[in-house]
């Protein structure tokens, strides 16, 4: 009963911090990918879950190192303040301050959706391999918010274990920012749309400060991520990402 509410956040955030793993004509993909990644990252993020009748807001602080390590601390709402998630390679733990204990989460959490939001976890976990698992093709140009973009179509490689049947991505030509992405299922039906906005200097790089995930089928639903701050390449020791450190992070 204790663990369930945010089970999926770690993966979710890993994705958020590296939002741009997807891409081309591989070089474009890789450039956008490298841009949003650092050796390490420290971020303050506000997550808004918006529904027609209600909305909830949560703020978190996250630390990542490569693809293997991530720590996420919930800082608001007050009820969940101090809850921590740790990912080490394929293992995930959840620290619950009220009961002062750590719960190891089952691997199936990785294939679950992050409750109530419009991100499904399957996407997120597999997002990391999208460069490898998809064939990329530049299909044209487009303009988004006054920025010239490559339009890239991505289709899964034969036999690749991926969720999406097709992804369409618009990547800014000058700064290699993913400004827009559409996720389609196997029947090529639109499922989710990702919109990036509020482009500004974050961690010394020009990056979108706001990401919105909008499900196609559910009117009035969306999930918004707002980066309050982002730092790259601050040295973080591996032993920061330990279960013992979970109660201490702040």
């Amino acid at each position: 009963m204790l663990m369930k509410r945010h089970c999926i956040i770690p993966f979710f955030l890993i994705f958020i911090v590296h939002p741009s793993t997807v891409q081309d004509a591989r070089e474009i993909v890789k450039k956008a990918d490298d841009r949003a990644k650092g050796e390490t990252s420290i971020a303050l993020i506000t997550i808004q879950t918006i529904r027609p009748n209600w909305s909830r807001e949560m703020t978190v602080k996250s630390w990542t190192k490569g693809n293997d390590f991530a720590m996420v601390l919930v800082t608001a709402p007050v009820k969940e303040k101090g809850v921590v998630y740790l990912k080490r390679k394929k293992e995930v733990w959840n620290w619950i301050p009220a009961v002062e204990r750590n719960i190891k989460l089952p691997p199936s959490m990785m294939s679950q959706s992050w409750m109530g939001t419009d991100f499904t976890n399957d996407d997120l976990v597999k997002e990391a391999s999208i460069v490898e698992d998809y064939q990329h093709l530049v299909t044209g140009d487009t303009v988004i918010s006054g920025r010239n973009c490559y339009k890239i179509e991505m289709l899964p490689k034969p036999g690749a274990a991926v969720v999406w049947g097709k992804i369409l991505m618009m990547v800014d030509k000058k700064d290699y920012l993913i400004l827009h992405a559409e996720y389609y299922d196997e029947d090529k039906k639109l499922i989710n749309t990702l919109l990036a906005g509020d482009i500004k200097l974050l961690g010394g790089k020009l990056l979108p400060g706001r990401l919105e995930m909008i499900p196609a089928e559910k009117k009035g639903n969306k999930t918004v991520l707002i980066y309050t701050s982002l730092e790259f390449d601050t040295p973080i020791a591996d032993n920061f990402f330990t279960t013992q450190n979970m109660p201490k992070v702040k």
């Binding site: 009963m1 204790l2 663990m3 369930k4 509410r5 089970c7 879950t49 529904r51 209600w54 909830r56 807001e57 709402p77 007050v78 009820k79 303040k81 080490r88 390679k89 394929k90 293992e91 009220a98 009961v99 002062e100 204990r101 719960i103 190891k104 989460l105 089952p106 691997p107 199936s108 959490m109 294939s111 679950q112 959706s113 409750m115 109530g116 939001t117 032993n239 330990t242 279960t243 013992q244 201490k248």
Partner: protein, 389 residues
Amino acid sequence: MRPVKIIAVIISFCISFLLNAQEEKNQVKRVEWRGYIKDLQTASFVNSADSLTSLHLLHNRINFKFGLSEKFSGRVEIRNRVFYGDQLELVNDITHTIARYDGLFDLSKLWVNEKTLVVHSLIDRILLQYSTDKWDIKAGRQRINWGIHTIWNPNDIFNAYNFLDFDYEERPGTDAIRIQHYGKNNTSVELAYKPGKRNAETIAAVLYKFNKKNYDIQLLGGVYQQDILIGTGWAGSLEKAGFKGELSYFHPRKNWTDSSGSFCFSLMADQTFKKDWYISIAALFTSNPVAAGFSNGTILTSDLSAKQLFPYRYAFYTGLLKVFSPACSMNISLIYSPEKNSLILFPSWTWNLAKDFDLDFTAQSFFAKESRRYKTGGTTLFLRGKWSF
């Protein structure tokens, strides 16, 4: 470690604290606080509404955290409760149950003790903590939670958790000293010592934790009241399911060779499924169960320990959780024991009505076979509102 040594360690830390404080006197001392107010309405009945009794509990908790220096911090947590309702009159000696606290020091106050109203305050955490990258030392009233399993924790020797007691998730604190040392690769060794008022109540044990092949593994051993204890616990996975277990073996200290020990063993598997379903199954084996059964509610207040987590030899648990949205979820737990075909049904609904306000509805029903008839042992309904601040 002997108490004398522990005291020596504490003194040396206090000295180092004073020395540090000199260097850090320019830093601002920080106090953080937070808490909640809960209102729990309880209605209990056995067979018909005629037997309905009620209890109201207004419950406030305030947690203070003091940053004394970079390495030293302190915590004080206070629990205030106001009880009223006819169950106060009906249940024998309920005040004793409410006000009871097995600590070294009495840090509680019974403000009002009337037939229809009881007001009680308790400091259930008060501790000083010294922290570095590699060490954590805590002295005072604290929670030492060595459990891994989500439902039954034979390894949780300092403060066993009763999952039916859902309204006191923090659990009482233990007056103890806990020293933790962290090694490489997520390993740690810790020593915890809880002096008892009498020698037979003392608990002192060492815990070693490490991670191997994606399994968290822990080994523990020490003195558990009148027994010597050894135990192990793990948390890993089988395919996509989580797989956890805890085992503790207790052997009487006296008459070592002539006596036989007892053990307590729990297992569990859990998995999430599409559309936010979560299922967990668990089992508990207690080699020497106390014969007494449970009637409605008594398991909530009875003596529960790592050695005795359930009144019967075998217990099985199934839990089903469905999250409809971040603001609404449902959980159904079922506990079954072949002994008298005992069954506990424990469903709950949770709503997050506003940012800091939650409402939940919980029921606990007990059934068992008695005198060849299958009977209800009673049902309790709980409606709870919680405002966090």
